[in-house]
């Protein structure tokens, strides 16, 4: 009987160790787990039990954050297979992908000079989002069906590019809204 604090996140949630995931199911299990361990359930217990419950709840929160995020889940699965990627890592990608990134960045840089910057940004964000989703489904295929680790690593690194881009889109959106609204 391994302690729940050391079991891997998929086991903890009693989910198959694979990329594809039913979000609603993950959410439901998360709620069930928190119902069991959350410190509020131990408000009248002794100090020791309260501490333990806090540790468990924090662990389950962490696991949930990783599993529900397509990028972090991908990285976690690769880590379980012995391939660690840190979030700053970049890649010697194919030139085509790098070209595309440069173009997207240029588009982002030009947003402020558009007639309706917020609307233009919204369009760009949707475009980025769609490409990110496409990478996600490809990752599910190479990880769950083909088990091509090399291809999976490349895809995760690509997703990291898009993630950074998405963060910048959000920052710009926040700035624009503060200025314009």
């Amino acid at each position: 009987m391994s302690s729940t604090l050391t079991r891997n996140y998929f086991e903890l949630f009693s989910l198959p160790q694979q990329y594809a995931l039913e979000r609603a199911e993950l959410d439901a299990r998360y709620r069930e787990l928190q119902r069991t361990v959350h410190p509020d359930r131990y408000a009248s217990a002794g100090d020791q039990e309260r501490r333990l419950s806090m540790q468990q709840a924090a662990h389950i929160n962490e696991a949930y954050q990783v599993l529900r995020d397509p990028l972090r889940r991908g990285r976690y699965l690769l880590e379980l297979r012995g391939h660690r990627i840190d979030d700053q890592q970049t890649t010697h990608q194919d030139p085509e992908f790098l070209m595309q990134q440069i173009e997207l960045r240029e588009a982002l840089g030009a947003i402020r000079s558009q007639d309706d910057p917020l609307q233009a940004l919204d369009r760009l964000a949707r475009d980025i989002q769609a490409q990110y989703r496409a990478l996600e489904s490809e990752l599910a295929r190479v990880l769950d069906e083909d088990e091509e680790i090399g291809a999976a690593l490349t895809l995760v690194l690509k997703m990291q590019y898009f993630m950074r881009l998405q963060n910048e889109v959000q920052e710009l959106e926040a700035d624009l809204e503060d200025e314009l609204c």
């Binding site: 009987m1 302690s3 729940t4 086991e11 903890l12 949630f13 009693s14 989910l15 198959p16 160790q17 694979q18 959410d27 299990r29 709620r31 069930e32 787990l33 928190q34 119902r35 069991t36 361990v37 959350h38 410190p39 509020d40 359930r41 131990y42 408000a43 009248s44 217990a45 002794g46 100090d47 020791q48 039990e49 309260r50 333990l52 419950s53 806090m54 540790q55 468990q56 709840a57 924090a58 662990h59 929160n61 962490e62 949930y64 954050q65 959000q170 959106e173 926040a174 809204e177 503060d178 609204c181």
Partner: protein, 624 residues
């Protein structure tokens, strides 16, 4: 009720005694106390039937003080000794307080630890003490109404309160002699009151504009689980600011200089507030203010004009609304309901602008003054263990990122804002000098890149590391935030095992010893009272531990314990039971610790079994 948790329905557990619990809304302008009685959560009135207690304390030369309406009545006559809106100063340093606004109607001085003190006729008072006086008043009201001592309370705080402000609030609770079961975010409390009323699932936004603070939270409700997805706000924005905007306009109209004395300031603010509140129901109001020269100024304010004066303030709340949506990854159209909380949401302009923003009519049918206290009372009742069958669960988030100072005055985020609590995150750092044996750590909170633009929470040092070459040390810094949103930090050098730990106490906060000293000072027969109090605390704790343990043993001792383990636990329990009836609080404390240590493995096994049991219905074939 922890250990009772896994009993099957129908299985009998130890008989449970009802514990008196209350929810307290410690507001900037008004405070309330509520409790669940005969299954209904309701706010408790004072003898005259008033539910709202103005958050005002007046200190008298005799050393005594008055709280609430009586104090408020004297505010203009005795401005320097009558403290209102003290919530704005909680967890703040002297410098912050000065920055908060030019119009502070009383005198601040710097206390020894950098905590601002307010000069009053009864002596210098810290914001924590003033808040404790308000809490003590509510405690008394509750204990009189409910007919007994409170076993525990839930105190609400603005969701956007940072660590220092939360810590200060909890300290105030302790100082008022309360057992604080939980600090609960105000919008979450409102959602609890609201959610249970309607019993329906979906995503809601809670817009809470009170006297001095603004919060907006987005929550997902699902079968009794309230999951906060994102929160944002401004801890220095509220109805007070509207009053100030109106008062400034009045001064302009009356041709008064920009530097009125304290008394006139108070009169202007009170008249502005009365006018604002009247304009909720009428189209225009007459204004009168007594001037210092014995004369009087009269004027007229229309709602339309007031709307123009306050429009920028209301607009300021929409930025955080947009941010929560973005952080939650949602569109305005995803929001099913918008709940309005706080007295300032009575202002028509607020309702219309918020309604326009979310493109839906906000809900205003729940009393915006009482809803927070009611939600807190519901949670307090559950936490006290009075509702073992209730499976409501609140999952909240931290409102502001927690970080650490790195080279060059930059912040590195360790826990980003809107992370669900409790949470624990670690990061590794290293030394940058050869032979370095100590490392200074600076804990900050905020979103900005530069440390100076964030709130400094604490500084501490990890000392006694063995000298190593630069970059060889591996210092693991762990941030842990509990369910109250309070942070503690540990640092450990991994290769040598040298450790440092702090509960993050803001530099201008109170140490536990200070709290204890103040508590002692406030009692008539200090020594005896303090002793009796400690003894009672330990007895209650012993009772709790024993009760939970007995229930657990009855249920499943056989599944988790061998004979030896069980008899060791039973022996330690018997020892505790005997000491509990004595009068030595230290001996009881030690016995509790002994019992906890012999039952540690048992507690751990049970919790893990609970988790497996919760997931048991979802067997996964993929791995064995």
């Amino acid at each position: 009720m922890a250990l009772l948790q896994i009993s099957e329905p129908g299985e009998s557990t130890a008989p449970h005694q009802h514990r008196l619990a209350a929810g307290i809304d410690l507001g900037t302008t008004n405070s309330l106390v509520a409790s669940v009685r005969s299954g209904v959560a309701e706010t408790l009135p004072d003898r005259e039937g008033h539910h709202l207690l103005p958050s005002v304390v007046r200190y008298l030369p005799s050393g005594e003080h008055q709280v609430g309406e009586v104090a408020l009545q004297q505010a203009a006559g005795d401005p320097l000794n009558t403290i209102s809106s003290v919530k704005r100063f909680m967890g703040r340093g002297v410098e912050d307080v000065k920055r908060l606004g030019s119009v502070l109607p009383y005198e601040f001085i710097a206390g020894e630890s950098g905590m601002p003190l307010i000069r009053t006729a009864a002596g210098d008072r810290s914001p924590v003490q003033v808040s404790a006086d308000i809490l003590a008043e509510l405690r008394q009201r509750a204990e009189q109404t409910l007919g007994g001592e409170l076993a525990g309370v839930v105190i609400t705080v603005p969701a956007y309160f940072d660590d220092a402000q939360r810590q200060a609030t909890k300290d105030a609770g302790k100082l008022a002699g309360l057992k604080v079961l939980r600090l609960l975010n105000e919008p979450t409390a409102a959602a609890v009151a609201y959610g249970l009323d309607r019993g329906s699932d979906g995503i809601i936004a809670v817009y809470d504009l009170g006297g001095g603070t603004f919060d907006v939270s987005i929550l997902r409700l699902n079968q009794g689980v309230f999951e906060v997805m994102a929160t944002a706000g401004d801890t220095a924005l509220g109805g007070d600011d509207m009053d100030r905007a109106i008062a400034a306009w009045m001064m302009e109209q009356a041709g008064l200089g920009s530097d009125p004395d304290h008394g006139l300031q108070r009169r202007l603010l009170m008249s502005a507030r009365a006018a604002k509140e009247a304009l909720t129901d009428s189209e225009q109001v007459e204004l009168t203010v007594a001037l210092d020269d014995g004369g009087e100024w009269r004027g007229m304010l229309t709602r339309q004009h007031m709307d123009r004066l306050i429009e920028p303030l209301v607009r300021k709340t929409l930025g955080p609304c947009r941010r929560t949506l973005r952080d939650a990854g949602l569109d305005r159209t995803d929001i099913r309901e918008v709940v309005m909380v706080g007295g300032s949401t009575r202002v028509a302009k607020v309702r219309s602008m918020v309604g326009e923003f979310f493109a839906r009519e906000p809900l205003v049918d729940i009393d915006p003054d009482k809803v927070v206290a009611v939600g807190a009372a519901i949670q307090a009742d559950i936490l006290a263990g009075n509702q073992p069958e209730d499976d409501m669960l609140l999952l909240d988030v931290i409102p502001l990122s927690l970080g650490i100072e790195t080279m060059g005055g930059l912040t590195e985020k360790i826990i980003p804002r809107n992370t669900t609590i409790p949470v624990s995150r670690a990061q590794e750092f290293t030394t940058y000098k050869d032979g370095q044996t100590a490392m200074a750590l600076h804990v900050v909170q905020g979103e900005r890149e530069l440390v100076d633009a964030c709130r400094s929470l604490a500084r501490f040092e990890l000392r006694g590391m063995p000298p190593m070459t630069a970059g060889a040390a591996r210092i693991r810094v762990t941030y842990q935030v509990d369910a109250d949103g309070l942070l503690s930090v540990t640092a450990e050098e991994q290769t040598s095992g040298v450790q440092a730990h702090i509960e993050v106490k803001p530099s201008y906060g109170l140490s536990d010893n200070e709290i204890e000293r103040m508590l002692r000072d406030s009692m008539d027969h200090a020594e005896d009272d303090m002793k009796a109090r400690r003894l009672r605390e330990q007895q209650v704790e012993a009772e709790r531990v024993l009760e939970a343990l007995q229930a657990a043993l009855q249920q499943d001792a056989d599944s988790f314990l061998n004979r030896e383990e069980r008899s060791a636990i039973e022996q330690a329990a018997a020892e505790l039971a005997e000491l509990r009836d004595g009068d030595d609080h230290r001996a009881i404390k030690n016995a509790i610790e002994r019992l906890e240590s012999v039952s540690a493995a048992y507690v751990d096994r049970r919790m893990n079994a609970n988790i497996r049991k919760a997931m048991a219905g979802h067997a996964v074939d993929e791995f064995k």
